[in-house]
């Protein structure tokens, strides 16, 4: 997922369009809703957004913080540039591990939606209110993806 606009502060001259993460924050969560009929069709998506807010705080997190602090060199000043930040995210260094929880969450949300692009046969989220009313829509793919990601991170 691109983090559009996550640039060094000096380039912040005008607002950027919403990224996918911003969109999940807003259009799935806010705005006018017609009536109960429409709410039903949104159930699957709402489950997703609630799920996406889970951030894991645990012993694991503490150990990662400790690791991050131990490798810090206080004599070095100045923030890392954007390229390094991005590299760190993909390279899987200590920073990546510390940020694991939130990164995993974002990737998972992107995952659930991209799944549609890749596999049209899979039972998945649809904006079809009939399937949710009959109770067929269950967040199985999200759950599966959650547990596997947690193990990885």
């Amino acid at each position: 997922m691109t983090e559009r606009g996550f640039a060094p502060n000096r380039y912040l001259e005008r607002p950027a369009p919403s990224s996918l993460a911003d969109v999940i924050d807003t259009i799935l969560d806010k705005g006018l809703v017609i009536d109960i009929y429409v709410r039903v069709s949104l159930v699957g998506i709402e489950l997703l957004t609630i799920d996406a807010r889970i951030v894991i705080a645990s012993i694991d997190t503490y150990l990662r913080f400790a690791e991050a602090v131990n490798r810090l060199d206080l004599t070095q000043t100045g923030p890392e540039g954007l390229p390094e930040l991005m590299e760190d995210m993909t390279r899987g260094g200590a920073k990546r591990k510390t940020e694991g929880a939130i990164e995993a969450v974002k990737e998972r949300v992107a995952d659930v939606f991209s799944r549609d692009d890749e596999d049209e046969n899979e039972e998945d989220y649809e904006d079809d209110d009939r399937s949710s009313r009959s109770g067929r829509r269950q967040p199985e793919p999200a759950k599966k993806s959650t547990s596997s990601r947690r193990r990885e991170s």
Partner: protein
């Protein structure tokens, strides 16, 4: 085919020349007296892809550049033009007109602040000798496991305090810029603030400059993202808490 409803505008709203919605379908208006719903054709059974979410946001963000827009939450699918009028515009008429009026000339701009984790940790260590002491007591290996945990826990608590104080500082700075501010959920351990600003469209340049100035004066550990213009998502949500206005 059915219609995806993006939002509601006043009937006199001009659409930008070529406005494409979900799956590149052309966006048009369904008009009923003074109101219009912004719609495009969509397969009612279509799966939701990330492009669909982005398209919904892009359509609304294009319109709000020049017009007042009440955003629909993603997922409002209505069968026909008649059903749009019958289910959305007619029953909601007075409420929607009042909302359009109250947001006339206003846009939402969103400011999200994040900690650069390394910089935030460095700041903590520099400020707090007790954390440096804890760090010096740790080492490699299982024998140091309890010490590592103590350090990590203290760091996590310290970061949390730093997030609160930085959020309060930013909120304070931003409140001079906007007509109203709504703080949204902060969604990750590095996010410090998620603030929706309601500002006059005519004050956009002044707001851009103020945000740019603010971002230049922030300590290294803080990064801003500045998003918009958006329809007033965060402000409508509050007003419609509970039942929809016309339910």
């Amino acid at each position: 085919m059915a219609l995806h409803v993006y939002g509601v505008v006043s009937a006199a709203t001009p659409l930008p020349g070529v406005l494409r919605g979900r799956r590149e379908a052309p966006v048009r208006l369904v008009v009923h007296s003074d109101l219009a719903a912004v719609v495009s054709e969509v397969d009612a059974d279509a799966r939701i892809r990330r492009d669909d979410l982005l398209a919904h946001a892009r359509v609304l963000e294009s319109l709000v550049e020049a017009s007042t827009v009440l955003p629909m939450r993603f997922g409002v699918i209505v069968e026909t033009d008649e059903a749009v009028v019958r289910n959305v515009l007619e029953p909601g008429e007075s409420g929607l007109i009042a909302l359009l009026h109250s947001f006339d000339g206003l846009i939402q701009l969103t400011v999200k602040a994040y900690h650069d984790q390394d910089q935030a940790l460095k700041h903590l260590l520099r400020e707090r000798s007790d954390l440096r002491v804890l760090r010096d007591q740790t080492g490699k290996g299982p024998a140091f496991y309890p010490a590592q945990l103590r350090l990590g826990e203290a760091i996590a608590a310290g970061l949390e305090t730093l997030v609160s104080s930085d959020a309060a500082m930013l909120h304070d700075q931003l409140s001079g810029i906007a007509e109203r501010i709504v703080l949204g959920d902060v969604t990750g351990q590095n996010q410090v603030l998620n603030a929706a600003l309601l500002v006059q469209r005519s004050a956009r340049t002044r707001t851009d400059q103020a945000i740019a100035r603010l971002s230049r004066t922030l300590p290294d550990r803080l990064r801003l993202r500045y998003i918009g213009p958006q329809p007033p998502y965060s402000f409508i949500d509050g007003e419609l808490a509970g039942d929809p206005v016309w339910a």
